[in-house]
Amino acid sequence: MAKSVHGTLKALRKAVVVAVASFEPPGDSIGQIGYSTGSSTSLRRAADIVMANSPAELTVIYPLIELREDTISPLRSWTRDQTLRASATG
């Protein structure tokens, strides 16, 4: 069963607030939101831990049909990795 993106996001916000996070997605400006810099794995690890205990609240249903020209970007955009990145960059 897929777990919650919402849970991930909620957990991430908390993680960011308590300054556990240090995640620098490529191409994004870390300075805009005042995070400390560091390795991306540390944030993911922290998020995974928090998420394991958070209530699942939102699931994306993505159908692999009518993919059109770009078959990769749509799926990738809805994955947890991208969600993490989006949340971290606000």
Binding site: A2, L9, I61, P63, L64, W78, R80, Q82
Partner: protein, 451 residues
Amino acid sequence: MIAVFAEADRAQAEAMQPLLGPNDELLPVPERSFAAMLNAGIARAATPWLVMTEGHCIAQPGCLDQVMRWIETNPDDRIGNFEFTHFSHKTVNQLVGRWYERTVAQWRTPPDWERAISGGFAIRKSLLDEVGPLQPAFAAFSPHAQSALLHSRGIKVVNVPGAAVLHLDEGSMAEFYDSTERYMRGEFIARSQIDPVFMERYFGAPELWINRARLERGTALAMVRALIIAARTRPRRAAALAGAFASMLGSAAGGLRLRIALNRLWLAFYAMAIERLPMPDDTRFRQFLRSHQRAARLAQLEWLQENPVAPSAGLAEGRRAIDELGPGDIVGVYGLEEFGGRRFRWTEPVAMIRMAARQTACELRLETGGIRGDPLAFLIAVAIAGRALPRKYCTSDAKGTLTIHLPAAFAAAAKDGVVLVCDALVPARGGIPDPRALGLPVISIAINPLP
């Protein structure tokens, strides 16, 4: 995220596995059907909120974060649409993007209604449990049918601020026609299964659908014949009947096959012109809209060719309100309307009422509510089996009810249709933005025996 794939696409889905995170999963379904895929994903999900999307939609950065904020700050909202942007690097992409925006804007403008846009919206899962799954048989129309069900339960669709999706539009006219066809066929399948009054309320009344019995060659010919009879019996009105005659002759002479073939040819021409010929943007867009209408019409005609109208027994004795009449009972009508709280349909200037076979005299009563004044003032002729009914058999009363007395000989012939020919009322001539040519407003039809 649950990425649902059809078994036939397993290799493609497995190639995408490396893109998934630890909490994402691939879910196989037997069929390559948008609705079946979403249903499987919904059944699998265990969260109170779902985000629905399409295979060609790219979540923009922060999209889900915005959804989450919206859920937190609007606890009473239950469905929220995302914003859509379009990536237009080809001519057809641009046209489809423009059309898409226009269509969505139309849905948001009353009296239309806002529906969940399947490219990206968030919904409480409990709502889907209430209205049931999407209908795979309705194909691309299934999310719209579900939206109508939700709307009929008073559930309002709002917008989720800041949640955006990039919609990859069709890149060629062939692809766009294909999408149109899947939507149109799905709509007609839905119309064949869902209460017609409900469907008309939410999706209007396509002329081909409500008058599908006219596609039977005999019906169209009988209506043309009635026009000729009307012109002979009332020569002064002949000129006024010319327009109706010209438009009906096409359906009577052509037949479905020819019309389908002509529409296909037109579409091929449109596709070539839109994709390749140089022309100003607005002209190209106008051609695009016309070709879209033609593609929809072609899909409707093809569906109707595969699913002809079941033979109708015709109207038996008794009174029926207009919304109780089926396509085999009255031919040549427009969508349902209301006047003074009562439902009615305008007929076209030439309309046919089909009665059950009978051997005895009867009267046919058409309640018009006086919406167009005295019906006798604009009724040109009544034709039955190629004969004009003498005028003395038609009467009207102060309430605008038209009574047509049918002596036994005419009643016996009426099983093939009673054709009413009226002077056309054209609202556009009075400056009203309504392109229709109207005949008789009909609230109800009654057939009563005569001694």
